[in-house]
Symmetry: C2
């Protein structure tokens, strides 16, 4: 590729010099998304408008779809009715709906006014689908054939209307009631004899979805059946739109981001990190931190009630972070594994007993390993003087070994219980969430930490009271 | 869909009754992946073999690709050379390589022996690409045209060879040195006049990747440019394979799972949770738990060194979990936001100063809010007697207010500092990781917790020493 590196200055320079041929050439040479990234940097919308005035509408419509909501709004305010109509005619309805959703009401009504009647009806109905459903990500630009068509007729129709459609990879055959009876791929059409009827070559075992189905389920179907296009039916089983793979990939990324943020005690963002304001980020961060802090009171109560133990065996406090962190980390491991398994459809509701049994067995192995290591590790850090424990007397005497064994045994035993509880609770809560039809990501993380912290501290102090005779 | 619900019993019954026509019909009526899920449950490989003996090879080859490694191995052991050859001829090379990677060496050599010379060479070269590169996910079944071809010739070639190829959606035009000079989509071919030369309609601004490029980068390109197929070039810029969107979706899921597990202090799994053994899960869980426990010694040292503070103002211990949890959670929020932003290519190396500045501002707002809430909250839990603090004397007297203000102020101030540090460190570490070309997911989480724990405890005890005059 000996193409020049694209820069914002390069584009601005062409605009200011009003070099229309060079500007048009730019759209031949570079991808729209790359151009959009630089157009985003152009401060003056009037400069940007120049591109929309001079470059072909099918290029600028795609460019427009990639711009930020702010830039889109700036441009629409400057557009003449003719320019707005051009944009609408050259954009796919799903893209139009995407940018209209965030627009102020006056611009929305201006856009609707500029659209022709059919487009207006389509936009209106698409705008009414709930966010996160198949309806909200579908487009209405698909190719449809009556069941009477032959392959030759179908190909002729595709040559006539295909260019305005989002895809011709899969086309749809409906009966006289507009009920979907089969699909043909472009491959089928190419391989078939031109005289063949579509009904002879169409596939009848196709996958469809319903307009109100959750977009995450749609994505699962795409993945499971390696689809590129899927038909969307309304409640009467009539074809009303299609979902294409590029939108599904966005859904996958978006749903995963939501899961990750929820598991990190964050409310999901509506926009990317870079486009979110400081205030928005703070607002998304605070609620769960507060909830978790309030839940943390349970740990505080336990420490408060066992103050006498800490006063009498003050070294106990030194190992509290070790217990809490290891317990929390173990629980987080299980929550992440199970929540991710659920998101990928590898783990389902009926796997509950398997998951619990597995976590129990994993918990025993991990708990024993961690406990054994911790036992030895405490000898190391106390023996080396990293942790000072004067009560035990001179190091490496028999009394010292007995005293250190007490504290190391206490910590080891507590760790074993904490890891086991963490794995069990971490495995059980996400499963419980799906059984109750709740979101496993948001349900689990906070509660696991709280439950594990409280149980670890409780076990620690009860055991220490027994070992050191503190009652 | 009035189709009967598919069950394992149904399939087994047909096998035992040797009802070949019904068995074949099953493969017409149901998707291979659904059938594979039930075939997975069939215990006796000889039963399963019956399907491979009787059903058409292009169905069974796909079925085979969806089976688990264990079932695949069982079957290959039973296959005659003829059956093995059939399987290889009807499978795409990327699928063959996928199942061969986990096979024992003797089976690998048996498979290679059964393959014809060309297939063997292809498999061998694909097996040699490093896992996680474009080469490891590419397939060699693509359609290629010389630059002299016309549209009619291209369509004729597609009709002849297309069915054996993974996709005809995008086809490739090479010059006499096999250098890729353009691509045409099937849409282009359909719309063009049959007599047109391919060189006239081909697209020259296509996106390619190189065989050693990380599969994650390949996925980024697919997303950025809404691709369905991408050409893979070797070091001499010659076309040697293609990557298709279905494999890219698997890559996206796999890379995200890895990120999530790493952030949860787990080593990535090679298989799904359900297919991983208890021992494997334990092995993946233990290392980071141990590392984090060892790092936790820093917190222990601080608590140990400030034992005298805990002895004199014993209520201090009650708020340690609150500090550690809130600090850890704040840091985790930032790490997750930034790491995810990096994974989605929204945040890049040069954004370092922006990220730090943003986290600083978010940290101040969140820190102030959390601190203010904590200040009031401590009055609530001590005033209500949930946390007992006798030293403060009778509740709601002037002395009581002064004493509680001291501890509430101490906790609030520490929380402010802890949140601010957590946000800064949580934002900085993933950015530092990419600057050093390390994995942001694995670098950050453990260190953030440790750094935040240690600084929060240190600040807490230093401030408490000042406030309560403990030096």
């Amino acid at each position: 590729m000996e193409k020049e590196m694209l820069t914002t200055e390069m584009i601005l320079d062409l605009i200011h010099r009003k070099d229309v041929p060079a500007l048009r050439q730019l759209f031949e040479d570079y991808e729209e998304i790359d151009l959009a990234e630089h157009c985003e940097e152009i401060r003056d919308p009037v400069d940007l408008l120049f591109i929309f005035k001079t470059v072909k509408s099918d290029y600028t419509a795609e460019l427009f779809a990639y711009l930020s909501a702010d830039q889109q709004e700036n441009l629409i305010k400057l557009f003449t009715d003719k320019q707005l109509l051009d944009l609408l005619q050259n954009s796919y309805t799903d893209d139009i709906v995407d940018f209209m959703i965030d627009m102020p009401a006056n611009l929305v009504s201006r856009i609707l006014d500029s659209a022709d009647k059919a487009t207006r009806a389509e936009i209106n109905s698409l705008l009414n689908y709930k966010e996160g459903t198949a309806g909200s990500i579908m487009t209405t630009e698909y190719v449809l054939f009556p069941s009477t068509f032959s392959v030759a007729e179908a190909l002729a129709r595709i040559r006539k209307v295909g260019r305005d459609k989002e895809t011709i990879a899969t086309t749809f055959i409906v009966d006289e009631k507009r009920l979907l009876i089969g699909i043909v791929t472009i491959d089928d059409l190419i391989y078939a004899d031109p005289g063949t009827k579509l009904t002879q070559i169409m596939r009848e075992d196709f996958i469809t979805t319903s307009v109100n189905v959750d977009q995450e389920e749609v994505a699962q179907l795409f993945k499971r059946y390696d689809l590129n296009v899927m038909a969307v039916l309304n409640d009467d089983q009539r074809l009303i739109g299609i979902v294409t793979i590029d939108d599904v990939i966005d859904v996958i990324d978006q749903e995963t981001s939501e899961d990750m943020l929820k598991m990190a005690a964050l409310s999901p963002l509506d926009e990317s990190y870079s486009r979110s304001s400081v205030l928005t980020l703070a607002k998304k961060s605070i609620p769960w931190l507060l909830i978790l802090m309030v839940l943390g009171a349970f740990s505080s109560i336990i420490l408060n009630r066992f103050e006498h133990a800490l006063e009498q065996v003050v070294i106990l406090s030194a190992f509290i972070p070790m217990l809490m962190d290891t317990g929390g980390n173990s629980g987080n491991q299980s929550v992440t594994l199970i929540t991710r398994g659920i998101a990928l459809n590898e783990i389902e509701k009926h796997d509950f007993p398997h998951v619990i049994l597995k976590e129990l067995r994993v918990g025993i192995i991990v708990g024993l390993s961690i406990a054994a290591f911790a036992f030895a590790w405490i000898f190391v850090i106390v023996g080396s003087g990293i942790i000072v424990y004067d009560v035990a007397g001179p190091a490496f005497t028999a009394t010292w070994f007995v005293e250190i064994s007490k504290i190391a045994g206490l910590v080891g035993l507590t760790l074993f219980c904490a890891v086991l509880i963490a794995k069990l609770v971490g495995g059980a809560l996400p499963m419980l969430a799906i059984a109750l039809k709740k979101d496993p990501a948001v349900m689990s993380s906070p509660f696991v930490t709280t439950i594990v912290d409280v149980s670890a501290l409780l076990i620690y102090f009860l055991l220490s009271s027994a070992i050191f005779g503190l009652f």
